[in-house]
């Protein structure tokens, strides 16, 4: 009988080996494909159920994960769940949604926020041995919440965007896009609810999900005139801004019979010529169109590229690439239009802010950035961004002359941007009133920096389709007051 007992023992051993093997097969060999199976709700729990780090801005918690009574364990909450406050910062924070993925800072800083970044392996090892749950790092932004709110309020009910940077460092102080959305609606822990909220936002009027400061391209209009002016001075075509250039009443686009006119069909000058400085202050279209044709498309593009055109910024979200048209088939009439920021030229609001920022920073273009510091859960710094110089956009001689022209645009009696004046603060800026699609009201632009003697902020504002003023809008009337509010908020 012991013989059969031993055989049974062998069979039992085989049975155990079989279930050990099948368990190993499932837990080791098949684990990956099972974990990534679309039907596996644990995949969502693993990705979205971790104790994600907060997103902070100068002590204000923009986004945090709060414990909830759900299989996920945590839910993302923006500005404490306050919809009105959350939408102010939504274009920067983005959203974190089980059904719709992540965007903006939630997306670019995901590895830090969920604690899986390579730089955090030490923390993860400690957590493993201590039996702690891995907690994501906190991401501190460069945003100044007061400036952000001031910009949001200043835009009022108008569609548009505001972006403000610190010229010397490239720190982004404000990044507002209207209309916006409530990211809390997308962070709900129901896949169905999150999907339907997302579908609603995608279908909503005026694209609330787009961060206009980096994600939308507009014709920059007259605010672009800073580039031909800089090119003229940099190339030596003009020795200084007081040199006269042609400023005809109307400028016939070369090779066409089409006349380019000034705003309101006014003549810029009785003599049909004027100094570059004066042309800038009154924003004379014909003068800049003819100057651009004289300089040529190539010179303009080079200058535009030195300010950052044709290259996306990574803030760390990748911006749309502002563009100056390519050389192929770039006929003089198109160069003329491009010189006044129409036609083929497109720019993001961030790009126009960086033009002012470079001028304010002695011609040096800095890398704009949003993420200042990343700290682990014990507040040790994991990563700190140091300001990075991109390139010299213009020389210092050009800088002082551009700054003078911009300052006179604001403070001069005939300036286009008198609405941007702030008592006791020297503001320098350039308006733009950009033709949008035919029949639509123009976009109102303003890009500026202040104070001129010690620049602390460079800002660009666009109000889409004239905002509250519709067709009567100009950059000076609609966008300049918004800039003034933002500058006041920074200097306070």
């Amino acid at each position: 009988m012991n013989k059969s007992l031993r055989r049974i023992a062998t069979i039992v051993t085989v049975l155990f080996i079989a279930i050990m093997a099948s368990t190993t097969w499932i837990q080791f060999h098949e684990a990956n494909s099972l974990n990534n199976n679309g039907r596996n709700v644990r995949r969502l729990y693993r990705e979205y159920g971790n104790h994600r780090g907060p997103i902070m801005a100068q002590g204000t918690t923009l986004a945090e994960s709060v414990e909830v009574d759900s299989p996920f364990g945590f839910q993302r909450r923006y500005m404490g769940g306050d919809a009105d406050q959350a939408q102010i910062f939504a274009p920067v924070t983005g959203f974190f949604s089980i059904a719709n993925g992540t965007t903006m800072i939630e997306n670019t800083e995901n590895a830090f926020l969920n604690g899986q970044a390579n730089a955090m392996w030490m923390e993860r090892m400690q957590d493993l041995f201590m039996g702690r749950e891995t907690q994501g790092a906190s991401v501190e932004l460069t945003l100044n919440p007061a400036v952000q709110k001031a910009a949001w309020d200043a835009l009022g009910g108008q569609r548009g965007a505001v972006v403000a940077v610190e010229p010397a460092t490239g720190k982004i102080l404000a990044m507002v896009s209207k209309p916006s959305f409530n990211p809390n609606d997308l962070a709900v822990l129901s896949t169905g609810q999150a999907s339907s909220n997302f579908t609603d936002l995608v279908g909503a009027d005026n694209d609330p999900l787009i961060n206009r400061t980096i994600g939308a391209l507009y014709p920059p209009g007259s605010s672009f005139k800073l580039i031909p002016a800089a090119a003229a001075l940099e190339t030596g075509y003009l020795r200084n801004a007081d040199q006269s250039i042609p400023a005809p009443h109307r400028f016939t686009l070369p090779g066409t019979t089409h006349d380019l006119r000034n705003f309101g069909d006014h003549a810029c000058s009785s003599t049909d010529e004027m100094s570059l400085h004066d042309a800038m202050v009154i924003s004379c279209n014909t003068a800049f169109a003819s100057l651009g044709v004289e300089l040529g498309g190539e010179a303009l593009r080079k200058q535009a590229q030195r300010f950052g055109f044709d290259d996306p910024f990574e803030v760390p979200m990748r911006s749309a690439s502002s563009s100056f048209p390519d050389a192929d088939g770039f006929s003089p009439d198109r160069v003329a239009l491009a010189s006044i920021g129409q036609g083929d030229v497109t720019a993001t609001p961030l790009q126009m802010a960086m033009v002012s920022a470079a001028i304010a920073n002695d011609g040096i273009l800095m890398q704009p950035y949003l993420v200042d510091t990343v700290r682990d859960s014990t507040l040790d710094v994991i990563q700190q961004t140091s300001p990075k110089r991109l390139r010299q956009a213009v020389g210092s001689n050009t800088v002082s002359q551009l700054a003078a022209m911009m300052e006179d645009s604001v403070s001069g009696a005939s300036g286009t941007a008198t609405a941007a004046r702030i008592p006791g603060v020297r503001v320098a800026g350039k308006t733009g009133t950009a033709q949008a699609a035919a029949g639509d009201a123009p976009h109102a632009w303003f890009t500026a920096f202040a104070p001129v003697d010690n620049p602390q902020i460079a800002v660009a504002v666009i109000v889409e389709h004239g905002g509250d003023m519709g067709s009567d809008a100009t950059g000076g009337r609609v966008a300049a007051p918004v800039v003034a509010s933002v500058i006041r908020a920074v200097l306070q």
């Binding site: 012991n2 069979i11 039992v12 049975l15 155990f16 099948s22 499932i26 837990q27 990956n32 299989p71």
Partner: protein, 563 residues
């Protein structure tokens, strides 16, 4: 007459005996056999004092201190209580409300059972109890964790499971105390068979049986729902052990021979067909594929144990195959189970009512655990339906990982291995078949459910012994353990009846000198008078030994008790 040292044995010198008492079939019918409870120290046998005189040293016949068992129990309790604390701290940041109750209960269970064994089965195996306490405690840890899950595994109840564990241990102790001699069970061979069949079929009695989760395997008594099949398996194991052992000669020798395989006589097939029909009935009428598979496996294994005839295994497999094929063809719920197994990952099968959703959820849980597991309280085992009972294996796998599951399987393997060891060591044939069958039962049940959860087999509704929530299963498995411990006590008790290779007075008379049993010319009678239990003697006799094997097996028991 030469006297060699008692430890000396040379299997090669053992000669198969020519004498063959008790080979004639029919004389061993249980009804005719003398009283089973034999006094093993009959006055005519050599006493320890005699042996001391001979060898000048006292043989170690002291009852063991059971230090190993105490140490292993402390280890098991440490793991279990640590688990309770860890679950509470991870889930709620504090000890669970029931921490002291659960911990005290587990300590009480271990201590109580240890003391009972110490008094009524002092020679019993020392590993079985700690191993069972460990898996029982780990099961309660997992149930407590699911009980505490905020998102809810409705139905998990750690306190209730702890209460059942306490009840089970008390009943197991009662079995140990009342059943002083496992051979008593042989008297109840046919009674056990009838009781087993009645229990098995009782859920089909209208008014008594009830259906839960689509399987009609429950009966309601006094407000409690009980799975009688869990008890039926014990009674049937006793019946099989008694019946097969009594009739093994008929089953072994009679019947036509076809090639190398000896087939049984048709009339000996009768009881086997009855069990087969019962298993099919359970499968068909109760929708309980697991139970029928378990019973049939138990049946075939014990039949093989008793007869050593491979033809029985072959016949068994054929019957299972035929029954299974018939069931798959004829009954939609069975074929659905097969479909859910073969095409588990098919989205349509997952979503279908009675489809593979539960199985796939369990697989996702296992995969989430990976090699090291998420850690207790960090996974999502509650997502799997019945995560605390049928699918506790996947719950454990998710939070303890492959590492944890393999460790748990090794503990189960230890229990089974100790059971089989007991079967090999015990000297009576009935005990061998019963212990072997019960040990196999644990392994077989584990294989069916773990194989089902890991997609090795079609999923059936069996429970992981000792771990899954459910009082009936826990109680019945503790009773199995009590019987194994009882048999193990018998197997490891140092016998004053000398075994092979031991020194014994010639013909029981010291004045005639001593002989080393098995090496003398007249080894058939090894002590003054044959044991009262003819079958026991028969097993101890060399005639049972094929020339080339098992010699050491037969000698092992005498030294077993001193470990």
């Amino acid at each position: 007459m030469t006297v060699t040292s008692p430890g000396f044995t040379s299997p090669g010198t053992l000669s198969p005996s020519t004498s063959s008492p008790g080979t004639s079939p029919g004389t061993l019918s249980p009804d005719l056999s003398p009283p089973m409870v034999s006094d093993t120290s009959s006055p005519s046998q050599a006493t320890p004092e005699d042996l001391t005189d001979i060898f000048g040293a006292e043989p170690t016949f002291k009852k063991p201190w059971r230090i190993a068992e105490i140490f292993l129990l402390l280890l098991a309790l440490g793991i279990g209580i640590g688990g309770f604390a860890m679950v509470g701290y991870v889930m709620n940041g504090e000890l669970p409300d029931t921490f002291w109750l659960e911990s005290a209960s587990m300590v009480g269970i271990a201590l109580f059972m240890h003391l009972v064994i110490r008094f009524v089965a002092p020679w019993a195996d020392q590993i079985i109890l700690p191993a069972v306490v460990l898996v029982n405690a780990l099961g309660i840890v997992m149930i407590l964790r699911l009980d505490l899950a905020p998102a809810g595994a409705a139905g998990a109840n750690a306190i209730r499971q702890t209460q059942w564990a306490a009840v089970s241990v008390v009943v197991a102790a009662a079995v140990l105390i009342i059943l002083r001699e496992h051979r008593t069970l042989r008297r109840f061979t046919y009674t056990s068979g009838i009781v087993g069949l009645i229990l098995l079929l009782s859920p089909m009695i209208p008014g008594l049986g009830m259906e839960i989760n689509g399987a009609r395997i429950w009966i309601q008594i006094a407000g409690m729902s009980i799975q009688p099949g869990e008890f039926a398996k014990i009674f049937l194991a006793i019946f099989f052990a008694g019946y097969f052992f009594n009739n093994r000669d008929n089953l072994t020798l009679a019947g036509p021979k076809l090639g190398p395989i000896q087939f049984p006589r048709f009339r000996d097939l009768g009881p086997i067909l009855i069990v087969w029909v019962a298993a099919i009935a359970v499968l068909v009428m109760q929708s309980d594929m697991g139970m029928s598979l378990m019973l049939f496996g138990l049946f075939v294994a014990m039949l093989y144990l008793a007869t050593q005839r491979f033809s029985w295994v072959l016949i068994g497999f054929c019957l299972v195959g035929a029954g299974g094929y018939f069931a798959v063809q004829a009954f939609p719920h069975v074929s659905q189970r097969f479909d859910g197994w073969l095409h588990a990952m098919d989205p349509a099968v997952i979503d279908r009512a009675g489809g593979s959703f539960q199985l796939v959820s369990g697989l996702f849980g296992l995969a989430n655990g990976g090699l090291l597991g998420t850690g207790l309280g960090h996974g999502h085992p509650y997502l799997v339906p019945l995560s605390f009972s049928d699918f506790i294996y996947s719950s454990l796998g998710e939070e303890l990982g492959l590492t944890g599951l393999l460790a748990v399987l090794v503990v189960f393997f230890l229990i089974v291995e100790r059971g089989l060891r007991t079967a090999i060591d015990v000297r009576d044939g009935f005990g061998k078949v019963l212990a072997g069958g019960l040990a196999f039962l644990i392994a077989w049940q584990l294989f069916i459910i773990v194989g089902g959860v890991t997609r090795l087999l079609p999923l059936t509704g069996l429970t992981v012994p000792f771990m899954a929530q459910g009082g009936t299963s826990l109680l019945s498995n503790w009773i199995v353990i009590a019987i194994l411990i009882r048999i193990s006590n018998e197997a490891r008790r140092p016998s004053i009846d000398p075994g092979l290779g031991e020194v014994a007075p010639v013909n029981g008379d010291e004045s005639q000198g001593y002989v080393v049993v098995g090496q003398s010319d007249t080894p058939a009678i090894v002590s003054g008078s044959p044991s009262n239990d003819a079958t026991e003697m028969m097993d101890a006799l060399p005639r049972e030994l094929p020339p080339d094997e098992d010699a050491t097996e037969m000698i092992a028991p005498v030294s077993g008790g001193t470990q």
